[in-house]
């Protein structure tokens, strides 16, 4: 009973099933409404009529839903239908009256158009809207040209059959539609191809990372439409008795409307054949009912439009959430705009300010991220903020910038309490965080970006004073010796320069404290030097800078002080003249934590993976690695050191520009992930959101995706095979909640990660590459994942694990390989201290410098 209830709840929560239920209800209600109000509505004659009218629309709407599922659209279906009909009529005459040839020609013509669309969209990557707009014109034009603009009567009973005849009182066109409904419903729900379609549409990157042939799947969707259009053309000829070049007008829009009302999401990944059918029927029902009610045909069109809007608002929850948000936004924005002010020059920053962070704590629910952090920042200082991943740096920055309110403690500006209701307030207080993705517009110029929202005008309503804005901007740029012009388009500037634009903007808005988060991680060395020069000029103007970085040489070069966080607490506020990099590392790492991590002794067998001096032409430079069966190797390094790139190069997802990768004794430098997966290699990517999971699909579908590949009979998924395997995996991994039909997006991070792991585990892999598997995962799930790693080892698999959390890696793995700046630099056996490993990862600050080496020039990538 409880199972039934929870099933009902999950059904109601799913957008798709909710829509299906609503549609059923709506159909019943309108059926009753019109039936009671208008005699003759509820007659079999009328229903047959409605069914026939909507038959071709539904027939085409099913594959249209499939195309929408893979994030596409097809505007050419109507024209394609007309063309297929015309071609068929011509073939009939040309072949001396052969119905077979004619029918074949119709189907072939329609499929050809579909294949052409598929080619343009999945191979050439043309935008689906534009491509099908073009083929729409092409097909319609061809139909008109070939037929001379005239309808060609067709007299073969074989061709007219589908459109004219009935079986037991039910028109064949309706029977065909119902068959199509069953076929498409089964396709989407019960076949591997259906799963693949949903996967490609739901998350194309993840589909590719799971070795699904995304391009072929997309292409196939368009061919399917072609097939349905062909059948639709036959039916249409049967109905009218002739092939008409103007047939199928607006068919595409009716089909798309049916799909959308059936809750297909234009963002991809969601759609159902049954709902599409119901959508089509519902629209047909309403049109018929209104017609009975004496409403003019023109108004019926209007009501259809209104209906579509309502259907979208009801079925797509994202939309209603937007609506509420927008109304709130409107209410707030008036207030915000009134209080915003920007000065034309950058004068304000010269006064001296102090920001005091006083015992700031921050918790998210039960998780405490910051505890009693206290330090201050004064004008003219450059202070480094350091700490390992998860130490609380980003949260602290968000508190200072007004994105989060502190749970305890407060901020003081020049001795007075600072209450920040949002990032606007922080800006007004002169605190600016540099992140270019959220506040710069690529297609506008530097000057336009700087004055965005505060453009200078002649008078209150006059034209923009463009020359003045450019001049003002150029003045600021010149003052800071920026290497670009005010009239440069932002998208033409490199990443480094865009960052500088952000900084200039911050200064123009009177920021006295500028917070930079790992600003040089995406820069070439030349741009880095420029940034350092800019920072020197800023400090000369008394600007304060809070600089988050893990690069020792940078920190010692630029900063005067370093504030160190560990586990949310302040563990050091050091003057950089008085401390060494080793000392800083020591603060970040603390004393060696007793590993609560279980370790199992390993029994290494033969070498399964051998990487020799591999580089990928950009971040990965020179990496070498050997992994044996039955051992687990940890791969550590700072962000940007090339760990992920190395794993991806082994897995076939990243280029191998030089060097070799050997997997299971065979050269795998250019092998595909699919080929490697078949041999027994598993790769779990770093970011499960972008490459791991398919958010709309259920846990079961996510877990079984790879496993199903070998286990289907001609693509048909046997539930009796799938269910026990899914259950087995979920139990083994401890995935909670235990309901396999829940959409994976509703699970916690740890459980999501377990599902992604489970997907690969189901294949019993011999080589397992895990890229930061415990990121964003709670403590309980973490230890479960560690236990799994040990299990694989015992079973003889070779495991490589990267992690940003050193204690974890040191505790669980047999040995640790350190990467720094794209190369493997050190290896430590089990028992090494965190300190030693971190020192290797950071490198010594005295050695490296900002001087460009030949290596740097070669890898210069100006973005």
């Amino acid at each position: 009973m409880k199972e039934l209830k929870s099933r009902a709840v999950s059904l109601a929560r799913s957008d798709q099933s909710r829509t299906t239920l609503i549609l059923i209800g709506a159909i019943l209600c309108s059926g009753v409404f019109f039936g009671v109000g208008f005699p003759g509505f509820l007659s079999s004659y009328n229903f047959t009529n409605i069914a026939v009218q909507t038959a071709v629309i539904s027939l085409v709407a099913f594959p249209m839903t499939v195309v929408i599922i893979v994030r596409g659209v097809d505007l050419s279906v109507g024209s394609s239908l007309a063309l297929a009909g015309v071609v068929g009529a011509m073939a009939f005459q040309a072949s001396g009256g052969s119905s077979f040839v004619s029918l074949a020609a119709i189907i072939l013509a329609a499929v050809a158009v579909g294949a052409f669309n598929g080619f343009l969209i999945s191979v050439l990557h043309v935008n689906a809207f534009m491509a099908t707009l073009g083929t729409m014109a092409l097909a319609r034009g061809a139909a008109t040209a070939l037929s001379g603009g005239n309808a060609t009567p067709v007299q073969s009973p074989a061709i007219l059959f589908l459109g004219r005849e009935s079986l037991g009182g039910i028109p064949w066109s309706v029977i065909v539609t119902v068959i199509a409904l069953i076929v498409f419903a089964l396709l989407l729900q019960k076949t591997l191809l259906g799963r693949w379609l949903l996967a490609v549409g739901g998350n194309k990157d993840a589909a590719i990372a799971n070795a699904i042939p995304a391009r072929s799947v997309e292409f196939f969707a368009y061919v399917l439409i072609g097939l349905a259009v062909g059948i639709g053309a036959i039916i249409t000829i049967g109905r009218t008795g002739s092939a008409q070049p103007l047939a199928g007008q607006n068919l595409e829009f009716s089909a798309i409307t049916a799909s959308i009302i059936g809750a297909a999401s234009l963002a991809g990944g969601r759609g159902s054949a049954v709902s599409t059918f119901l959508g089509s029927v519902f629209v047909g029902l309403i049109s018929s009912g209104l017609s009975f009610a004496g409403v003019d045909q023109s108004m019926i069109y209007v009501y259809t439009g209104v209906l579509t809007v309502l259907a979208v608002v009801v079925s797509q929850k994202e939309v209603t959430a937007d609506l509420r948000g927008n109304v709130l936004y409107l209410a707030n924005s008036a207030r915000a705009r009134a209080s915003r002010r920007v000065r034309a020059s950058m004068g304000g920053g010269n006064a001296a300010h102090t920001l005091e962070i006083a015992e700031i704590s921050k918790s998210f629910g039960a998780t405490r991220v910051l505890k009693d952090v206290s330090f201050d920042v004064r004008s003219g200082e450059v202070v480094a903020l350091m700490g390992e991943n998860g130490a609380g740096k980003s949260t602290l920055v968000k508190v200072i910038a007004g994105n989060h309110a502190p749970s305890g403690g407060k901020l003081l500006l020049d001795g007075r309490a600072l209450e920040l209701a949002g990032p606007e307030d922080a800006r007004k207080a002169g605190i600016a965080v540099i992140h270019q993705h959220f506040s710069l517009v690529p297609d506008l110029t530097v000057a336009q970006n700087l004055f965005l929202g505060n453009e200078l005008r002649a008078g209150r309503f006059g034209p923009l004073r463009r020359r003045l804005m450019v001049a003002e901007t150029q003045k600021s740029l010149d003052e800071l010796e920026m290497p670009f012009a005010a009239t440069d388009r932002l998208s033409d500037l490199s990443v480094g320069h865009r960052q500088m634009v952000e900084i200039v903007r911050a200064l123009r808005e009177d920021a006295w404290l500028v917070i930079m988060d790992e600003p040089t991680s995406a820069l070439s060395s030349r741009e880095r030097d420029r940034l350092y020069e800019l920072i020197e000029r800023l400090t000369a103007r008394n600007t304060a800078i809070l600089y988050i970085s893990h690069k020792m040489d940078e920190v010692f070069h630029l900063c005067s002080r370093a504030v160190v966080l560990r586990d949310g607490q302040l563990v050091g506020d050091e003057n950089l003249d008085a401390v060494t990099s080793a000392g800083l590392v020591g603060l970040m790492v603390g004393k060696d934590v007793d590993s609560a991590f279980t370790h199992v002794p390993s029994n290494p067998g033969e070498v399964l993976v051998r990487v020799s001096n591999v580089g990928d032409g950009s971040r990965l430079i020179d990496a070498s690695l050997e992994v044996r069966a039955g051992e687990s190797v940890g791969l550590v390094g700072l962000m940007g050191s090339g760990r992920s790139e190395l794993l991806r190069s082994i897995a076939g997802l990243n280029r191998v520009a030089h060097g070799t990768v050997e997997v299971l004794g065979a050269d795998a430098s250019h092998a595909s992930l699919h080929a490697l997966a078949k041999k027994g290699l598993a790769f779990v990517p770093e970011d499960r959101h972008s490459e791991g999971m398919f958010p709309q699909m259920s846990v079961a579908a996510n877990i079984s995706l790879l496993w199903l590949r070998g286990k289907t009979t001609c693509g048909w998924i046997k539930a009796t095979l799938e269910r026990p395997e899914v259950h087995k995996l979920m139990t083994r991994l401890g995935v909670r909640p235990s309901d396999p039909t829940v959409a994976i997006k509703n699970l916690s991070g740890g459980n999501q990660q377990k599902v992604v792991l489970g997907r690969w585990l189901a294949l019993d892999p011999k080589i397992i590459l895990l890229d930061d598997p415990t990121r964003g995962v709670d403590v309980g799930a973490k230890s479960e994942i560690h236990a799994l790693i040990n299990e694989f080892k015992i079973q003889g698999a070779a495991v490589v694990v990267t992690s940003s959390e050193l204690p974890e890696v040191l505790g669980v793995t047999d040995r640790v390989v350190v990467m720094r700046e794209g190369s493997t630099v050190a290896e430590f056996a089990r028992g090494a201290s965190e300190h030693e490993v971190m020192a290797a990862a950071f490198g010594d600050h005295k050695r490296s410098s900002t001087a460009s080496s030949t290596d740097d020039i070669q890898k210069e990538v100006v973005r």
Partner: protein, 330 residues
Amino acid sequence: MSMPVVASGDTAAWADKVRRFVVRFTPELLLLLMVIVLAIANPATVRLQNLSDIIINAAPIAVLALAAMWVLVSGGLDLSAGYGVAMCALLVGGAIEVGQPLPVALLLGVAGGAALGLVNGLLVGLVGMPPFIATLATMAAVQGIVLLLGGQGTVIISDPVIATIGSGRLFGVPWLVIIALLAAGVVYLIAQFTSFGVHTYGLGSNRTSMTARGVPVIWRTVQVYVFSGVLVAITAILLVAKVQIVDTSIASTTTLMDAFAATIIGGTSLFGGRGTVRGTLVGALLISFISTSLVVLGISPNLIQFFKGLIIVAAVVIDALIRLAEKKSA
């Protein structure tokens, strides 16, 4: 656009300059190519009379293409514009027929276009519907209104002012062309000299940043669609003046498609943030050139749509290939 890779030698730099020139002036070059090809095929196509016809035919396409461009630049899409033109035309024609003075009739048409724009803008900006679906729905509704208005039957306009606009000239330049150029000028000035213009491009380029910078995004979205709606109405007025017979077939999806083709060939990006008045005008000329010249060449009107489709597909494929090549070199 990607920055040039550090290259060695002068030839690489020169080749790059050529490449940038081609990318920047693609629509003009395509037009030139088209003119040359067709002139060689049949010199009749470049007779002055034909060229004059081409420019006149391009006028309404250009204005509708500008309407489409404005919405595309803002990151949106307006499928209802085609039938919207018919609706405005019927409003104008109907008003004239019942004896309303011309300014009132024209104003009614503009009001109709603006109202359609308002509905679209609210659905996209306030309700947050994806523009494709929102304008698909309004397109259906407008189709109905067109049918309703068309019930009045075909209207034949005999107003002298309309006749002058339709076939008269000012210093040798047809009034239709003058109005279209004026509209283009207004769009250009708005794009370059008003914050509305800057914000429209910004919306299509990075909506999130615009919101973060405090730009009134919702209000701007509504303005975009309303402005586009006014341009739709002006297109209708031009068409009414040009053909002087108003019925439901005066404009439809084909008209919209021509407009889309014109502005996309003219360099407007489907993803927003990019589009120029110059490119759109050239695109309109190109589309008009194809239609008009093919008629002159004696090609049946049935084939013309085929060729137009061919051009669109070719343009779209070329654009895709250019982008693929750019990605490989980046």
